[in-house]
Symmetry: C2
Subunit: 165 residues, 2 copies
């Protein structure tokens, strides 16, 4: 690239935020962090970030259904079902028939899945700290964290951005 373009975005302005610029920065950060975390998790544990997130969710919410995961991650039911297929094929997750509604299954980690997620979490947390701590550990970090927590709550409350399937 001949000339960097983030100079404009990093101007410190008063007045209302440049929302499109903020969103662009956000998406670029998310993409790059996700890619970098993928690399580390893949080389050390043979999984990618999305799989880590599934496993972590199931550790923290045992007995969830496919639809619960789909809502949490704002992806389609079909995609979620296929994602669970892949984890089940590796024997990290088991589907057990929901006794109170036999259309659905209750999902749980296996012992191997639990062990994996614990190991992967250490890698994940360490990598994330290395990648972001310098900036996010600064004085404005908590404010940013608070904002995204709130925004997430609002988006979930209003069911914004859920796919069809």
């Amino acid at each position: 690239m001949q000339d960097k373009i983030y100079a404009m975005a990093s101007k410190s302005s008063r007045g209302p935020i440049d929302l499109p610029g903020f969103f662009a920065d956000l998406v670029r950060c998310e993409t790059r962090l996700y890619n970098a975390l993928n690399d580390r998790l893949r080389e050390r544990h043979g999984i990618v970030t999305s799989q880590f997130e599934f496993l972590r969710f199931l550790r923290d919410h045992p007995g969830s259904r496919v639809a619960d995961l789909a809502t949490e991650f704002a992806i389609g039911i079909g995609a979620t079902s296929k994602g669970i297929d892949r984890l089940e094929k590796q024997a990290w997750v088991i589907r057990r028939t929901n006794p109170s509604d036999r259309r659905s299954s209750l999902l749980d980690l296996t012992a191997a899945g639990l062990q994996l997620v614990e190991a992967a979490e250490a890698t994940f947390t360490k990598a994330l700290a290395e990648l972001t701590a310098d900036v996010l550990g600064g004085p404005s970090g908590p404010a940013a964290a608070q904002i995204f927590s709130e925004l997430r709550s609002v988006l979930e409350r209003d069911q914004i951005g859920l796919p069809t399937g």
Copy 2:
């Protein structure tokens, strides 16, 4: 979902940030916003957000090469080439042979492409404001914007999270 899980993430704590929790909030917000923006742009202009971002980049950086786009968006060269193929097929973008290096092309918007991106930008900006202004327009908004601008600069400087291809 039986019980919401973001209660934990929205605790206001002192001390260092819960980075994994922050990252999770970030990714959820990004996913949902991206999905919601996709919906609006698709129904009104027949494009999705990634295409809007390509077009906007080309408007703001005429004569870019494929590799420039790939770096900007932290995606692979191949994917970028295919993305440009699709925009070119719609006659929104033209490749003209780079006179100083005939391996590459210089990319530009057509008149139709320019018209499209201007219209789509209005939709995009309006939708983004509707979706986020309540939260991001608050007092902590500028701090958050500043943090992501800085984080982006650092990630780009260190070339974090670029795909292989």
